[in-house]
Structures are given as C-alpha cells and as structure tokens.
C-alpha cells in the first residue's frame, strides 16, 4: 500500500507535464465549460477540446446518435463555431481557470490543418495540439487521412512546422495495420499519438427499416470498443516504445484507465463516459489514484507500459 497522498499522479505527455493523467476526449466535453458544475477543469490533466475547423460548421442532420450495447454511435459532423469563435470564447474561458487545453484541430486538406495550427500559435493555455486525422481528405475523394500513412504523415509534418506546441496525431482504429500509420506519423514529426478515435459502425431501425443515423454510418465509442483500443495502444507501444501515447476508448473507471497505462499510454482521455456521468474524468482520476495506492505503486510513471514487462514490478 502506498498512502493516497503519496501517489504521484503527475505525468508527462509528449514533453508536457500534466498534474493528472486523466484528460477529457475531443468532442465529448465541448470546450470544458459545461462540465464546470460537475468537476474542476483545472484539476484535469487537460481539457481536450472538440475538433475545431476553420469555418463554422452546422454538423449533420439529426438523428445524430444511437445507443448500442455498451456503446453509442454518433454522427455529429464536427459541428462547431470555427476557429475564430473558438479563440475568442473558448480558449480564454479555460485559460482564466488555469486549465490546460489540448486543442483538437480538423481539416479537409493539409492547408486547412496548417492554417488552424498557425492561428493557434501563441494562443493562451494551449498545452498541445491534437490533430484529428480521421477526417476525409477532400483531395483524395474523401479517403480518411488516418487510413493512409502518406496522407497522415503529410498532415502531421505540415502541422508540426506551423505549431508552437507539441503535436499529437489522433489515429483511427479502422485500419489494417495501425503500427504503420503510427510510425508514419512519428516519422513525420508527431510528438505523440492519441488513440483511438471511434470505429465506423451503423445501426438500423427495425421499425422504420432504415438506418437510424441521418448520416447512415457513425462512430462507435464507449466500453464496447475498449478491448480494441487497449490492443491498439499495446501494439503501438510494443513497436514504438519511446513514443508518448494518449490512450482512450471506453474508459469508464479508474481500473479501465489503468489498463491503458499498463498497455503503454502516458495519459488517457475519458470520452463517452461523460455522457453517462458528467463527473467521470474527475472520478476516473480518483479511482486510478486509489487503485495505484492499493497496489503499492508510487505513481503513474511506474505503470506506463508495465504490462509489456514482467508484470508485478
């Protein structure tokens, strides 16, 4: 047993020191403000903001979600106010509360990503950029950047050039070999990797006999996908042990978070769990601290990737 107060919850993600390894997940906590009644955003490792694009976006038609067993499908379509409104309203709110922001950016072309990264240079409170490459590449008939190592690398290299903070590439699990994509992103300069984004899924309404989502397919998230997410983190950490990983996918509890750390993540994002429990990111951090204390583990740094090694330290 380690006493609770002694557990070192600090972690380093892509060179950035964070007071807690538990962050929010992009698209699951907006820009943090709505969580204020349920937790203290400054105590989180960071707030990962909803992917922002250059221009305001309406998002898709509704229905935008379907509940599935231990998961959900979403097809929001990256609704958002665009980078200018984000810089004016969202970042200052976080900065005023001394919360760290990991800003997720999304674009349909390398140029859009670069412009976004450029606009964020010098913005207050930005700890890292998370590059959401699970976006269709307009230049290649909508093929998702994250599904092609070259396209992924092009985006990352360009963002890296433009950014003044470390850059995480957010990977999609919907690929034959995630290690190849991960390696391409690292080669292109990514300081770390976020994984995983949602799995492509769909559900059909057995009354209307039509797809439930207006967008037909959507992204599957929640505990249902956790085994896939842990596997991706495991595989990439095994292949690229030096590369920092922000792990996510179905984390509901502190023990779930611990699985990701053991698999090789230096920090984790809590996404869909927030819909179930708005205090989830804070609760997961507490539970993780308790779990480390129970196991006599001094701190987060001691478990990162541990399951690859001997097990019991």
């Amino acid at each position: 047993m380690t006493s609770l107060a002694q557990v070192g919850m600090g972690t380093t993600l892509a060179g950035v020191a964070l007071p807690s390894p538990v962050l929010t997940a992009s698209g699951c906590s907006a820009a943090g403000r709505e969580l204020a009644p349920y937790l203290d955003v400054a105590e989180l490792g960071a707030v990962v903001t909803k992917s922002v694009m250059l221009r305001p976006r309406s998002g898709r038609a509704t229905p935008r979600m379907a509940e599935t067993p231990s998961g959900m499908l979403n097809s929001i379509g990256l609704q958002g106010p665009g980078i200018e409104a984000f810089l004016e309203h969202d970042l200052p709110w976080l900065a005023a509360r001394a919360a760290r922001a990991v800003v997720s950016i999304a674009g349909g072309s390398v140029e859009e990503f670069v412009q976004l990264a450029g606009r964020l240079v010098g913005a207050p409170g930005v700890a890292l950029l998370e590059v959401n490459i699970s976006c269709p590449n307009v230049a290649s008939r909508g093929q998702v950047f994250a599904c092609d190592p070259r396209a992924a690398a092009d985006v990352i290299a360009a963002v890296k050039d433009a950014a003044d903070v470390p850059v995480l590439a957010k990977l999609s699990p919907d690929v034959t070999d995630i290690v190849t994509i991960a390696a391409a992103c690292v080669q292109a300069g990514a300081d770390g990797l976020s994984m995983i984004n949602t799995l492509l899924g769909m559900a059909i309404d057995t009354d209307t006999l039509r797809p439930i989502l207006a967008g037909i397919t959507g992204g599957l998230s929640g505990p249902a996908i956790r085994p896939v997410a842990v596997r991706c983190v495991w595989q990439v950490h095994a292949a690229l042990p030096e590369v920092p990983i922000l792990g996510m996918g179905g984390i509901m509890t502190g023990l779930d978070a611990l699985q990701f750390l053991l698999a090789g993540a230096s920090a984790v994002s809590v996404g869909t769990a927030v819909f179930h429990d708005p205090s989830a990111p804070a609760r997961v951090a507490r539970e993780l601290r308790d779990a480390l204390a129970d196991r006599g583990i001094p701190g987060v740094a001691d478990v990162v990737g541990l399951a690859h090694r001997d097990g019991r330290r």
Partner: protein, 284 residues
C-alpha cells in the same frame, strides 16, 4: 439559471398512473430552484448495465421544501422499462435540473397551456406559477387514449378551464388536442401559449399562435446523448435573434423554444441556409 447538480437520489415512490409511472425521488439539490419545463437525466440499468446514456424526463413536481421531485415515465424500451420496474429504495443517479424553463410573462394575462400525453407533466407547475402571478390559465390536455392522459383529475385544481380530448374519444372530446384550440385562443383572448408534447402537435400549436400573433413557448423532445450540452446530438434548426438559423442544442438552449423560432418542417434535415451548412463536407 440554476446550476445543475449530480446526485444519488433515492426512489421513494413508484406507482402506475394510467399508462404511465409516477416516480418520486428524494433529490433536494435538484428540487431547489427547478422551474417548469426543466428536466432531469437519469442513468439506467444499474451497475453492469449495457445502457450508457441517461434518459431525460421533464419535472412534474419539484418541491424545495420536501426535497422531492417527481417525473412521469412512459415505459418505452429497455431504459424506461428498467426505471419503472426499479423497486422503491433504489438509488438513482440523477442530474438536474437541466435546460431552460418556460419563461413566465412579465405581467398577468391569459395563458393557454396545451399538452399531449406525458407532455402534461410540466404544465401543472407552470399553471400554478402563472396563477400565482395573477394570470388566467386554460389547460388543454390530449392523448391517444384516456389511459394516456396524465393529470386530468388534477387539472381543474390548477386551471380556470380544462379541455380534454382523446384521439379515440374514450375520455373527453374525440379528436386532436389542437382541434378546438383556435376557438379557445380566440374566446379567451389568450396572450401567451405554452405547449409540450409530440413535435407535430407543437408545430400545430405554433401555427395557431402565429395566426393570432401570440407568443408561444414549446418544450421539444429531441434524442439526447448527454443532456448537459457537450455532445451536440440534440440539435434542431432554430432561427436566432439575428435572423440566421443555427443547429441549436435543445438540452441547454432548450428544451423550451419560442415556437416561431423553430424551423419545424426542417427538423431532421440540414437546411442549406443554416449557419455552417456550407462548410459541410463528408466529415462525421
């Protein structure tokens, strides 16, 4: 606006009422400062549940004195089935009060309240508050069948007149809740309308209000994943003060909207003139 709370609320009462179940929960933090039209979001299924998303229910009562809140639940699919079969004593994880309540008029006047099915739940507290402020209240309750009316017995205690309709004529007048509404609005010289119920009904009420140039506040029901404003699933196209339409969250900016602002016929579509529709590519 009240800040919502997340609480573990004990289920202190659960009883069938017609086709519905009336659940009473001990939740002082939620009861304090809740207004009519606001809702609560309840986690369902207990530990080990495969159901991740909370279920939303309009507050029927919220008594700061006793700390109790009540909701009227229609058993629909697994989540609501679990709720209505939960034994008294079950601890429920509750978030609320959420959303914006029905706005009360600055001056006393005449209000017509229209409700369909369990949509009547928020109307009783609304009626009481309107009458406390000196307004006359005319309440119209409708449902498919008599079983699906909620609160017909209570209605005379909170309203000056009560009109009851059912689609099958089993209780009250046969027909739609909106059938006699034009006459009622005219006869009572209503200066505000409130409605809660199915979308088609809200739209019809809104149209009548528009015809008489009377403000009309409606509580919509869109599928919600989070209920707290972070997920963007619950949107509908709403015309803003600047005249431009946006996809607006019904959980935080609603569920109560001014009916004339809602683009009823475009709900479930993406109108080309909505802000940011032009930027939509194939992104999910």
């Amino acid at each position: 606006m009240t800040v919502p709370s997340q609480v573990r609320a004990r289920l202190v009462g659960s009883e069938p009422v017609g086709a519905y179940h009336l659940l009473t929960l001990d939740a002082p933090a939620v009861a304090a400062g809740a207004g009519p039209g606001q809702f609560v979001a309840v986690a369902v299924g207990g530990p080990g549940s495969a159901m991740l998303l909370r279920r939303a229910f309009a507050l029927y009562t919220a008594d700061p004195a006793t700390g109790l809140v009540q909701v009227v639940v229609a058993e629909h699919r697994p989540g609501t089935a679990w709720l209505v079969h939960s034994p008294v004593g079950t601890e429920l994880d509750l978030v609320g009060p959420l959303g914006r309540p029905f706005p009360l008029p600055a001056a006393a006047g005449t209000a017509v309240l229209v409700a369909g099915g369990y949509g009547s739940a928020p109307m009783f507290d609304l009626a009481r508050r309107l009458r406390e402020r000196g307004s006359a209240v005319h309440l119209v309750l409708g449902a498919a069948t008599g079983e699906r009316l909620f609160g017909a017995d209570e209605a005379p205690h909170v309203a000056d007149t009560v009109t009851v309709t059912t689609d099958d004529g089993s209780t009250g007048r046969r027909g739609l809740v909106t059938d006699g509404l034009t006459a009622l609005v005219e006869d009572t010289a209503a200066d505000v309308l409130y409605a809660c119920g199915p979308m088609a009904m809200l739209r019809a009420v809104g149209e009548i209000a528009a015809a008489y140039a009377v403000p009309c506040h409606v509580a919509v029901e869109e599928a919600m994943a989070c209920g707290i404003g972070v997920c963007m699933t619950c949107v509908l196209p709403v015309i803003g003060a600047d005249g431009r339409s946006r996809m607006v969250r019904s959980c935080t900016e609603g569920p109560v909207f001014e009916a004339s602002r809602v683009r009823w016929k475009d709900v479930g579509t993406l109108p080309a003139d909505v802000v940011g529709a032009d930027a939509m590519g194939g992104h999910r």
